[in-house]
């Protein structure tokens, strides 16, 4: 298992009022994303535990794109990954932002 | 110790016990007076629908007719693995046996399991794990899951599994692991009279409340179960 963390500034506070939300399931090719509104409005964080070792660069790119597109200010994303493809990761992150 | 040795040591004043194709049925007098109902699975027999229905029937006939504690002797294989048993709804037969034992235990007929040989998986759930106190006889070798099957499913080698088993009692077979988890309450020695050890237990039976999770925590085998169950229970009670 590998632990990877990212911290990004965010342009805007993520909309919504819920304090937390969860999407996905930890299974082969899938992941769960727990999102919590616990950070200052201009920050976001992504903490990943993944079964697939050595994909730090890919995660960095996916997370970077996601933060750029959605500006999820104030949100902390905690991920348990079962070896999902990048597009599945992007999908779950987007679902999480929508749900919260 | 053979089953005959065990029964003779438990009940030196005699007994009425039959072993019919691995199904143990009977009763025996207790030193303290009264009788103990006996049932169980012997000779590492698989527990299937045909065995389970006889065992549950033996207990049900006794309820209302007799008083006194109940002893479940266990040296079984796992549940019987067959098309026929599953076709006929094995899950109900095994659950029924467990329910009958649990009901007896909750209604004045304390149950004691004596694991003296092997047992595994569904058979263990329906017999030893459905009693109030599960005793292990030194030398017994229970397993929830055997290591070769685990190796096949996890795709780890036996050596790797055995190595991991050194640092945790949570998955590997064995009496001491199950004792540490809180499943087996105590271990009896076959060097001294089983009748003495049985009498001592009967004189000091714990209450009918299921405290195995607390026992597992005390012994360091299960550190989370008791706490999580209690937290959920407390939160759920507040929902009222």
């Amino acid at each position: 298992m590998e632990d990877i963390s990212f911290r990004h500034p965010a342009r805007a506070r993520a909309s919504g009022t819920k304090r937390s939300a969860i999407v996905g399931v930890v299974a082969s090719g899938n992941l769960e994303v727990l999102v919590e509104r616990v950070l200052p409005d201009a920050e976001c964080a992504v903490d990943i535990k993944t079964a697939a070792i050595g994909f730090g660069e890919v995660w960095s790119a996916v997370i970077g794109d996601f933060v750029e597109r959605y500006s999820p200010g104030g949100l902390r994303f905690s991920i348990n990954d079962g070896g999902a493809r990048p597009d599945t990761v992007s999908l779950r992150l987007a679902q999480a932002v929508r749900l919260i | 110790m053979t089953l005959d040795d065990i029964i003779a040591s438990l009940f030196p004043d005699g007994h009425e016990v039959s072993n019919d194709r691995g199904v143990i049925l009977g009763s025996a007098p207790l030193r303290s007076g009264g009788r103990m109902l006996l049932l169980g699975v012997a000779d590492r027999t698989a527990l299937g629908v045909d065995e389970a229905i006889r065992l549950s029937g033996h207990v049900l006939e006794s309820i209302g007719r007799d008083s006194g504690p109940i002893l479940v002797l266990v040296d079984s294989d796992s549940q019987r693995m067959s098309k026929r048993d599953e076709l006929l709804g094995l899950n109900e037969f095994l659950a029924h046996l467990a329910k009958v034992l649990i009901h007896a235990d909750m209604n004045g007929r304390p149950t004691i399991g004596l694991l003296y040989g092997h047992s595994a998986a569904g058979a263990l759930l329906a017999t030893g794990l459905a009693t109030r106190v599960l005793v292990g006889l030194r030398g017994a070798d229970p397993a929830v899951m055997d290591l070769p099957s685990m190796a096949k499913v996890t795709k780890l080698s036996m050596e790797a599994l055995q190595e991991k088993a050194k640092s945790t009692p949570v998955f590997a077979p064995g009496l001491s692991n199950l004792a540490q988890m809180g499943a087996v309450h105590m271990t009896w020695s076959n060097a001294t009279s089983l009748a003495d050890q049985l009498a001592a237990l009967l004189a000091d039976m714990p209450a009918a409340q299921d405290r195995r999770d607390a026992l597992g925590k005390e012994r360091g085998g299960r550190l989370k179960a008791a706490e999580i169950a209690e937290r959920v229970r407390d939160l759920a009670l507040q929902a009222r």
Partner: protein
């Protein structure tokens, strides 16, 4: 012209959602009255399994089971739903303890029923001893709750079925609802084949698996009491029906069950296949049962008349 999404009623949404395909969370959200579900020890608590790390396996924040309370047609219920896609919905130490705690609370309260949405392969191998013990404790807790007057209803229709120790817990419930996709058994098809050979059970013969362990056979045999179509609304209605019909537990139930099971053995104990069982039960065209659509099957099952509600 189809209605815009926001105009679909909860019932319509639940009717159009496959129970089999839905996650544990979605099943609960659509089964219970809208917005009534409150989760206990939810994922933000991060109570993960302490035993998966040693196997280098990923954890899930809720350890694969969602427990809490909500309302069903306005009445309070306790609920537990297993996530069959996480480690096959298998019972581990934390997973099992969440259900045990829920049942113990139900026992203490006495008047709030428990719905268990089974979706499990049984004991989680990596925590085999803890999982097995959890199942034993759950069985005891179910029986103590039922003795206190609590109705414990099982719903079975997920990807992992209801296998192993899960099948034994199901056998302790007041009543069960099952869909075509649901399976109830102790040993899984592959395990039987590995241990006894392909002649005993060909695990790749899907039709055989479903005839032997699947929802339709279980309904006709009386292992389950109600057959539901594969959608959440059907399961909701099945749960309501069973809550209305399930009676109090006592010794008479156990005696009736002994007769029911002994009777089953004597009537069907020599049957080679489920088709022979169904024929013996009076089904005119047993071969056609697997293909029957849900509504026709329900009519057939009700006509055969075998339920076990008063004898389990």
């Amino acid at each position: 012209m189809t209605a815009p999404l926001k105009d679909i009623t909860p019932a319509e949404r639940a009717r159009s959602t496959s129970f089999y395909e839905a996650s544990a969370r979605t099943r609960l959200e659509l089964l219970l009255d809208a917005g009534s579900f409150v989760e206990l020890i939810g994922p933000e608590q991060r109570e993960v399994s302490p035993h998966l790390k040693i196997f280098d396996l990923p954890e899930q924040f809720d350890d694969g089971i969602v427990v809490g309370h909500g309302r069903l047609s306005g009445s309070p219920v306790f609920v537990a739903a297993q996530e069959g896609r996480f480690m096959g919905g298998a019972f581990g130490e934390v997973h099992g303890a969440k259900l045990t705690g829920l049942l113990r609370a139900a026992c203490q309260i006495g008047s709030i029923p428990v719905l268990i949405l089974f979706d499990t392969g049984g004991v989680r191998l990596q925590e085999a001893n803890a999982g097995e013990l959890a199942i034993a404790e759950i069985m005891r807790a179910v029986m103590e709750a039922r003795t206190a007057g609590v109705k414990v209803i099982g719903l079975i229709g997920g990807r992992s079925g209801c296998y192993g120790g899960g099948g034994l817990i199901a056998g302790c419930c007041s009543a069960l609802a099952v869909s075509e996709q649901g399976r109830i058994a102790v040993s899984g098809p592959e395990v039987i084949e590995t241990n006894r050979g392909v002649e005993e059970f060909d695990s790749r013969d899907r039709a055989l698996v479903w005839r032997t362990m699947g929802g339709k056979h279980r309904r006709l045999l009386g292992v389950a009491d109600v057959f539901a179509d594969d959608n959440v609304q059907d399961f909701r209605e099945a749960a309501l029906e069973l809550l209305g019909l399930a009676g109090p537990f006592g010794l008479d139930r156990l005696k009736a069950e002994q007769e029911r099971l002994a009777g089953r053995l004597s009537r069907f104990g020599a049957c080679a296949d489920a088709v022979d069982v169904w024929t013996a039960e009076g089904v005119a065209d047993a071969q056609a049962v697997p293909e029957l659509p849900a509504d026709q099957f329900v009519a057939l099952a009700n006509q055969i008349g075998r339920t076990s509600r008063d004898a389990r």
